[in-house]
């Protein structure tokens, strides 16, 4: 299969690059080993669109964060993505931390982050009455926002697909292909070879290993786990903005936030580990999050917890992003080591990559503008957020929208069917695209129903339906068959 560009990884970085490059007449392939979008760090993170004060001026992160923030405020309408423009506070508990806020304020100004200011603890509490009485001052960033990260990644990829890009899931890149001159010729995968003169490494936590295949050992990924609590949607009213503690050397620290859907959430820890795939939560990690959450929000209602989860960030030793084209082999581009503020930066990184292809890799591909580019992409209808007249109209047009599948998040069968039409093949894919199963019963009610719909629509036996691809089958066989098989020859 011949392409102009192969993008490894369909996280928010790869997805944004795919959409940006779909503005040009290019044959694009996006490859991901996962069975649904988003997987990896783009699924499990704080879903923050950062204000841009946290990154040291001059770093790659600082270069992309503020422009990325601005782009998301526009992209939310173009891509029909839920963005809660809530603003953020960094909270200081003592004089040393107040000094740190002043440093962040300067950084924010240097980075061009709009509207950043320091307010007193009392002013903050007049807006956020439930936060700790011990907060003495806070850095307010009005442009910070919270995004529905599940929607955002799917929206980016769908938009790229509308404009011609192809997505290949469950396609695990296992190596690079080189031409006679030792330059990039494509990639090897478990599903065969994908040939292209340009390969973009957006492999997230695996991006260091992928770069090393191209002989680039200039950076190393340190997989860093972040653990989270996610609380019931009824708890979101406790805060209206994103709360950070004062950052330390270890990272931005434990935050408390309200997701775009209104769930209270807290995390992440920052635990370095060897295994890039270990996304298990730990007693120590969860205890640390709880302590950090209660510091900011003393009445953090952990008894309303609905799930805990962990993501693994692609940290680098330098702490900065690794973005650029290698001189040799030609055609290999890193968009690697993307961690916080990666979600924020991704559309700006994508624009930069397109520019870089034009300027540095013109000998390999030509970027001709795609005059048929369609910027708009519409989400699957979100029944929960619609007014009654729109709901009635939708149900009249398609009765499947008058059948609830997920009772916690009021997701209809129509939405599940639309997700399947858009490529969902697993229970988790349906969850990511419709939010079925993200509510307080965590799929207890809808999981069997979603599985039945997948089975029916895909013509798949129910016991072949998986939770998230691979070996994650929900069921192990039919009841009586199972019993007979176990009893073996005595029943033959």
């Amino acid at each position: 299969m011949n392409y102009d560009v192969v993008i490894i990884g369909s996280g928010i970085t790869g997805a944004s690059i795919a959409r940006e490059l779909s503005k040009y007449k290019l044959k694009l392939a996006v490859l991901d080993k996962a069975s649904e979008l988003p997987a990896g760090a783009s699924r499990a993170n704080s879903s923050m669109i950062h204000g841009g004060f946290d990154d040291k001026p001059g770093t790659v992160k600082a270069k992309f964060c503020v422009p990325g923030n601005k782009m998301w405020h526009k992209l939310k309408d173009e891509l029909d993505v839920h963005l809660d423009e809530c603003g953020s506070y960094v909270c200081a508990f003592n004089d040393d931390e107040v000094k740190h806020l002043e440093k962040l304020l300067e950084q924010g100004k240097a980075n061009g982050a709009p509207g950043v200011e320091i307010v007193s603890g009392d002013v903050m509490r007049s807006r956020e009455p439930n936060v700790s009485p011990e907060i003495v001052a806070a850095l307010w960033s009005p442009e910070a926002a919270i995004i529905n990260n599940f929607e955002a990644v799917n929206a980016m990829i769908e938009s790229a697909k509308i404009n011609g890009a192809e997505l290949f899931l469950e396609t695990h890149v296992t190596g690079l292909l080189f031409d006679d001159k030792g330059d990039i010729h494509g990639v090897k995968t478990n599903k065969g070879e994908y040939l292209a003169p340009v390969v973009i490494n957006a492999g997230g936590v695996h991006s260091g290993e992928i770069a090393s295949w191209a002989g680039d050992n200039s950076f190393k990924i340190i997989p860093t786990k972040g653990e989270y609590y996610l609380l019931d949607r009824t708890t979101g009213g406790l805060i209206t903005s994103f709360l950070f503690a004062c950052p330390s050397k270890a990272g931005k620290g434990i935050t408390v936030l309200r997701t775009a859907e209104g769930n209270l959430m807290s995390g992440p820890t920052a635990t370095e580990q060897d295994d890039p795939e270990d996304r298990s939560t730990t007693p120590e990690g969860l205890a640390e999050v709880l302590k950090g959450a209660r510091k900011l929000l003393p009445n953090f209602p952990v008894n309303m917890n609905i799930t805990t989860f962990a993501g693994v960030r692609a940290n680098t030793e330098s702490g900065d992003f690794e973005i650029g084209a290698l001189a040799k082999p030609r055609g290999f581009v890193n968009a690697a080591g993307i961690k916080s503020p990666g979600f924020t930066s991704s559309p700006a990184i994508a624009e930069y990559i397109a520019q870089l292809l034009k300027e540095e890799l013109a000998d390999r591909i030509t970027l001709t503008p795609n005059d048929k580019f369609i910027p708009e992409r519409r989400n699957i209808p979100r029944f929960l957020y619609m007014d009654m007249e729109s709901r009635k109209a939708l149900a009249e047009k398609d009765p499947a929208y008058a059948q609830i599948v997920c009772r916690c998040e009021t997701v209809t069968e129509g939405q599940v069917l639309e997700a399947i039409r858009r490529g969902a093949r697993t229970v988790t894919a349906v969850k990511m695209m419709t939010r079925a199963g993200t509510g307080r019963c965590q799929g207890g009610f809808c999981c069997p129903r979603v599985a039945e719909i997948l089975s029916r629509e895909l013509g798949l036996p129910l016991d072949e339906v998986t939770r998230h691809g691979g070996e994650s089958k929900l069921l192990v066989g039919k009841t009586k068959e199972f019993l007979l098989k176990k009893e073996g020859a005595t029943n033959e």
């Binding site: 795939e277 008058a402 609830i404 207890g444 998230h468 192990v476 039919k478 009841t479």
Partner: protein
């Protein structure tokens, strides 16, 4: 627009079907029961084991058989049922009930009285925050029961059951019957969550080990469940170091409690009791919204379906009275209070308009003769024991309340004798 509904009942499980009967018998003309599933019966449809109806019918029925008897009566009484109909919103100012159905689309109903009979749901894994992975193979016992009994599929081959609620015990036996292994049942408390008879009939009879004061402390596996770590806990429910044990299994079934399902009740603006998790009700099963009544597991989680049906009949009758303007706004509200070892109870108010049964559970077991009573001197009953897994009842006659015009509160208590 549909005809005027006198009593609208939400949910056609045992409480809702009984409420329909109760409302019709009290004289309500148009009584409609809405059910989101395609068939009537609620959770009892999948409870194909016997043990239901010993009190009501004096015989041992399966869940579907028990429901069939009530549904037959409801049809004879002229109750209208609408299946595949989900209520997704109640407007608190107008008590407008919004429903959806594939044929009828989205409709607004404005009944004279509403009865909430949505039942309860199972506590999910997240409620107990077990560290580890999040693989396939972890189900609430009820979800697994649906897969096995309704769909005909097995959730796994080797199961660990966490929690000893009745559905977990029933499913332990069911898994064995279907040829799976059950490594054990683990209960964090020092007493069982379910009925003693289920411990005997579902675990002891099949040699399934039952571990008290033991819980799952870690989940292993990323795709499909590979195993769990179990550990004993101390009196503060903290895992005891050195007691950890790895158990290989592909399935973890959760029977860690039931929560009344009150999303709609909250929308209707009624008060929810912080301990029961259900609406605050009086003995007419009227909530704090006078036009809204509630019965069954949506109010308080019962042990026996017979109690749920009894309460459904009361709520339906009360709603019919309200629809006919027969419940005055000036009805007495005498608060019921719980004593030291009373964890939860319902109803929370007594009116003197009807004979009242107050259902309650103890916090800690009393494994000796004890006495349940209601002060001042309203009820007293000797018991052989009192256990959290088995409800107790207090019965107060309407006449007793009427004879005490100055009664300010009723205190219920259970104490060893």
């Amino acid at each position: 627009m549909s005809k005027n509904i006198d009593v609208l009942i939400i949910g056609a499980g045992p409480a809702g079907v009984a409420a329909g009967i109760g409302a019709r018998r009290e004289g309500a003309e148009n009584v409609v029961v809405l059910e989101r599933d395609w068939d009537l019966g609620g959770i009892l449809q999948q409870c194909i084991h016997p043990g239901f109806g010993l009190r009501t019918f004096k015989e041992e029925l399966t869940g579907p058989e028990y429901m069939h008897r009530f549904i037959k009566i409801a049809h004879e009484e002229g109750v209208e049922f609408r299946t595949n109909t989900m209520v997704f919103q109640i407007d608190r100012e107008t008590n407008t009930v919004w429903t959806m159905n594939k044929e009828r689309g989205i409709e607004a109903l404005n009944p004279k009285a509403i009865v909430l009979t949505m039942g309860c749901r199972e506590r999910p894994l997240g409620a107990i925050r077990i560290p580890g992975g999040r693989p396939a193979g972890i189900y609430t016992a009820g979800t697994a029961q649906r897969f096995v009994n309704m769909e005909g599929y097995m959730p796994g081959k080797r199961a660990v059951i966490l929690g000893s609620g009745d559905i977990g015990l029933i499913m332990a036996r069911r898994m064995i019957w279907e040829g799976a292994e059950v490594e054990g049942v683990y209960e964090v408390m020092s007493w069982p969550g379910g009925l003693r008879r289920n411990i005997a009939q579902c675990l002891d009879d099949y040699g399934i080990p039952f571990h008290l004061k033991t819980t799952v402390t870690k989940i292993h596996g990323q795709d499909r469940l590979e195993g769990v770590t179990v550990a004993q806990v101390d009196d503060h429910m903290t895992p005891i170091k050195g007691t950890e044990r790895y158990v290989e299994c592909d399935t973890l079934l959760l029977a860690i409690g039931l929560i009344p399902e009150n999303e709609l009740s909250r929308m209707a603006g009624i008060d929810i009791h912080p301990v029961t998790g259900g609406p605050v009700v009086n003995d007419l099963l009227q909530t704090t919204n006078p036009a809204v009544f509630a019965a069954g597991n949506v109010v308080i989680v019962y042990d026996l379906v017979d109690n749920v049906s009894d309460e459904g009949l009361i709520a339906g009758a009360s709603a019919a009275k309200f629809a006919a303007g027969k419940i005055s706004a000036g009805t007495r509200r005498i608060p019921v209070k719980g004593g030291e070892n009373v964890r939860l109870y319902s109803p929370q108010f007594v009116t003197g308009e009807t004979d009242a049964t107050i259902f309650m559970r103890v916090t800690h077991p009393i494994e000796q003769a004890c006495r349940v009573f209601a002060e001042p001197g309203l009820y007293s009953q000797r018991l052989r024991y009192a256990r959290p897994g088995e409800m107790n009842e207090v019965k107060i006659k309407a006449e007793q309340i009427r004879n005490l015009p100055d009664l300010k509160e009723i205190v219920i208590d259970i104490q060893p004798v």
